[in-house]
């Protein structure tokens, strides 16, 4: 695959290296001259000095035959324009944008960007999951299916503690996939009991999340 990456920060640099290792043809665009020099010492011809927002630069690096364009600069407006120009002007089939502000997720989708990746949001939920006392964390969002993978710690005062799954009124728009109890994993069946302090991993739709919270007696 031919992949063009816009933005040679840390993300762009490691992404380029990793994709090159996987055997792809990769071209990294970096507009800052100092940063470009540092990058070119290690990446050689895989990095070109130029602004990925500029149509002429993109033409020069052969955007017309690119399979994927990935925008990972530190500015959301730049990532948006890189992807939109690639998609609308050069008909690149797949565009991926890094989101610095998680709030821009919906806008980017609405504006035709194929995939958005939000490191800020991921870091937030990973840290949140490690904080003591947190009971409900979104680990991952499966965008196309509209589902979320949640981690829930069952509170000691949960109304369902001690009950079997079949006895609990779980939302139809979700399923409990895994329970971790005392460092052991349990793939739950209808007869599995939920105990206080269980770590429950569930797949839920956005509507199902609220119902699951209610069922488990967790509040944010």
């Amino acid at each position: 695959m031919y992949i063009i990456i816009g933005g040679g920060g840390d993300v762009g640099y490691y992404l380029t290296k990793s994709l090159l290792n996987q055997g792809h043809e990769v071209l990294l665009l970096e507009k800052g001259s100092t940063r470009y020099q540092a990058l070119s010492e290690e990446l050689g011809q895989s990095v070109v000095r130029g602004d990925a927002c500029e149509a002429r630069t993109m033409e020069e690096v052969g955007v017309n035959r690119a399979d994927v364009v990935i925008a990972v600069t530190g500015e959301d407006e730049d990532n948006l324009v890189i992807c939109q120009m690639a998609k609308k002007r050069f008909n690149v089939t797949r565009t991926i944008a890094r989101l610095n502000n998680p709030k821009n997720d919906l806008l980017f989708q609405k504006l035709g960007i194929d995939v958005t990746v939000s490191p800020t949001r991921s870091i937030l939920s990973l840290i949140e999951a490690e904080l003591p006392g947190t009971t409900f964390v979104t680990l991952m969002t499966l965008k196309r299916a509209g589902l979320e993978i949640m981690e829930i710690r069952v509170p000691t005062d949960s109304p369902i503690a001690g009950k079997t799954l079949s006895a609990i009124n779980l939302p139809r728009s979700g399923t409990i996939a895994l329970i971790i109890r005392d460092n052991e994993y349990i793939f739950p069946t209808a007869d599995t009991k939920i105990l206080a302090n269980d770590e429950v991993y569930a797949l839920v739709s956005r509507e199902g999340e609220e119902a699951l919270r209610t069922a488990l007696g967790t509040t944010r």
Binding site: E54, Q84, M85
Partner: protein, 139 residues
């Protein structure tokens, strides 16, 4: 008319002053408080400090019931993103976006954004002024 302007540089400040004088309700956003000094001392509109590609600040500027939105910051991409937020999220009827880069301008124009490129307009005016002069001399 209620108008929200993003960017209080020379163009933004002049535009805001002109619209205010003409009796329109103007809100102007800039990330620096200093920039508002460019406004006419009699400017009666609202000034807001903040990042214009943020829905919250646009909401505070009253974009929800604005009749028009103008993006005139120094950054082409910021103008493009803000204009698309105004158009697609807030459904503002009239959105005008300044884009210096002529190629970017033509692409977004094709995509349905109303754009003005000062590069092209400026060059055109210079060209006319220069050639007009030559024609006069030839006479």
């Amino acid at each position: 008319m209620k108008i929200v302007i993003l960017g209080c540089g020379r163009v933004g400040a002049t535009l805001a002053t002109m619209l205010d004088r003409a009796g329109h309700q103007v809100s102007i956003i800039d990330y620096s408080n200093e920039s508002f000094r460019r406004l006419d001392p009699k400017f009666g509109g609202e000034t807001l400090v903040g990042n214009g590609v943020d829905e919250e600040i646009l909401t505070r500027a009253g974009i929800k019931d604005a009749d028009a939105f103008a993006a005139v910051t120094n950054g082409d991409n910021r103008n493009i993103m803000a204009s698309q937020i105004a158009k697609e999220i807030f459904n503002v009827k009239k959105v005008v976006c300044r884009i210096y880069d002529p190629m970017r301008q033509s692409t977004y124009n094709e995509l349905g954004l109303e754009t003005i490129s000062p590069t092209i307009v400026g060059a055109q005016m210079m060209l006319e002024a220069l050639t007009h002069d030559r024609q006069n001399k030839a006479k």
